[in-house]
């Protein structure tokens, strides 16, 4: 592994994995405790429309994904409030509409879309330095906003009604949180791809949820786990010549099963 690190693509891959871990630790924890998994899935898939638009108009598809995921986040946060559509339905609709737009845009784009597959399923070994910079900027925004609104986000997640009563602008902060999910999606696209984003957002945080009883610790533990999983998955996929994104997810899922089994066993022993 160490000798591999002299290659630039490997250095970039490791940095991308670590940056992804920070985003999924911070935001994944909110997604899990506030039960926003399907919203996150919807935002992730809707961003495919932006990937397609990038191909069609010839700009960086990741920039397109950023615009579309933010748009989807804002729409999901407002549509349910303004119309009679349920949140559940609007998630499904935006999810599929975004994907459909992507397919149409790519179809309209001249020629063959070379690394389309890498946006869908990730390709951590081919992350260009420009995308690393973008991930770094997005991570910084996520970190700063979470630090600034930590007490409000936590209160909102635990008890939205009470937060509103004591004067927290819950509508606005819910939108901000959805936008942070959108940024997280973009950070993760290069690493595991649109389709697998949801796993990296939820699995490390769900393991941390089993192991800790404070939100701050949960964020820290899930970031560390995210780092371990992406690096381990990266190494394993390189050794076995497997798809990197999928390997990262399977490593994570494997550890989730181990944790669940272990906590069950521990509880069983306590009761005996």
């Amino acid at each position: 592994m160490l000798e591999l690190l002299q290659y630039e693509f490997m250095q970039n891959a490791v940095i991308a994995g670590l940056l992804a871990a920070v985003a999924c630790g911070l935001i994944g924890s909110y997604v899990v405790v506030k039960r926003m998994v399907s919203v996150s899935g919807g935002i992730a898939h809707a961003s495919f429309g932006g990937i397609g638009l990038g191909y069609l108009l010839g700009f960086n598809p990741v920039t397109g994904a950023l615009v579309f995921s933010l748009g989807a986040a804002l729409l999901m946060g407002t549509v349910t409030r303004r119309t009679r559509l349920s949140e559940d339905a609007s998630i499904g609709i935006l999810w599929a509409t975004g994907m459909a737009l992507g397919v149409i845009f790519i179809g309209l784009a001249p020629g063959y879309a070379p690394d389309l597959f890498s946006y869908l399923f990730g390709s951590i070994l081919t992350v260009p330095t420009s995308d690393i910079l973008m991930m770094l900027v997005l991570d910084s925004i996520i970190l700063v906003v979470v630090v600034l609104f930590y007490k409000e986000f936590s209160a909102l997640s635990f008890d939205e009604e009470f937060s509103r009563v004591v004067g927290v602008p819950t509508l606005f902060l819910n939108l901000v949180l959805l936008c942070l999910i959108a940024l997280t999606v973009v950070v993760l696209i290069r690493v595991v791809g649109i389709v697998l984003v949801i796993a990296l957002v939820t699995i490390p945080a769900s393991i941390a949820f089993q192991l800790t009883r404070s939100l701050k610790k949960m964020m820290l533990v899930s970031s560390l786990l995210g780092a371990v999983f992406t690096i381990a998955g990266l190494w394993l996929s390189y050794q076995l010549d497997l798809a990197s994104g999928a390997t990262i997810i399977l490593v994570s899922a494997f550890f989730l099963v181990i944790t669940l089994g272990w906590t069950k066993f521990r509880r069983f022993r306590q009761n005996v």
Binding site: S163, V165, G167
Partner: protein
């Protein structure tokens, strides 16, 4: 006595349904009002209207001489405990601090005054020793006390309790009412419950709510009020000394 809360001919409509019909109440300083009524009778709606979470379609609500939304920082609210995720990663201290969110303001941490208020509130409900416990490690009654502490941390002039006894086993209820009675010396209290027997000797005024509010300004309920609210004959069972809300009645 100054007016803490006044509702004048308040109507609340929910997507075509009338949840509250022409409700008027006056709550004064040191009042302890019990509002009972069947499930779906509009009890939670009434509390949410007082908190400004729901806009009345007609009528006027004034809390502490202000619009409800402006006053809500000085109103302590204890919601039904069923609404919470007990596995949420939060401990007793963090829950109590939530009461200070409005005072602390955004973009900064909790001040020393906020921490002192949360600490005092936990001491008041005798939960200060459990500060570092995770909420799932508490009994139902203890969880309820923590929620009251959170409401007290706002330093309220009015305390609203939604079914506060539903999570408290009957052996603990007496102690609970004593706590509320002590708090009542510093603030007005409105408590709603579907359970007639929840109204104890400490409650000073009793009203019945089933869309309309039946209230005669005393601590006693009449059979007519109860029957009007529950829309069925109600058998009055007075439990002797602690529950003297019901008039003497022929058996």
């Amino acid at each position: 006595m100054s007016n803490i809360a006044s509702l004048n001919n308040v109507w609340v409509n929910y997507s075509g349904l009338t949840a509250l019909e022409d409700v008027s109440i006056n709550v004064e300083e040191h009042d302890f009002m019990g509002i009972i009524g069947p499930n779906g009778g509009g009890k939670s709606t009434l509390l949410k209207t007082i908190l400004g979470l729901i806009e009345p379609s007609r009528g006027k609500v004034e809390i502490l001489g202000m619009e409800p939304r402006k006053a809500s920082r000085q109103v302590g609210y204890v919601a039904q405990f069923q609404n919470f995720d007990r596995q949420f990663p939060i401990n007793v201290w963090e829950v109590a601090l939530m009461g200070r969110l409005g005072h602390a303001g955004m973009l900064r941490g909790y001040s020393a005054a906020d921490r002192a208020a949360a600490q005092q509130a936990l001491e008041k409900v005798e939960m200060a020793d459990y500060k570092n416990r995770h909420i799932s490690q508490l009994s139902g009654g203890q969880q309820q006390r923590v929620l009251i502490a959170r409401a007290l941390a706002t330093r309220p002039k009015l305390l609203l309790l939604d079914e506060p006894m539903s999570n408290v086993d009957s052996a603990m209820q007496k102690g609970f009412y004593e706590l509320l009675s002590e708090l009542n010396q510093q603030m007005a209290i409105i408590m709603v419950s579907h359970d007639i027997s929840a109204v104890s000797q400490y409650v000073k005024k009793v009203a019945c709510l089933n869309r309309k509010l039946y209230y005669h300004g005393t601590g006693q309920l009449t059979t007519e009020d109860l029957e009007a609210a529950y829309q069925c004959p109600v058998e009055l069972i007075a439990h002797g000394a602690p529950h003297r809300v019901l008039k003497d009645h022929p058996r």
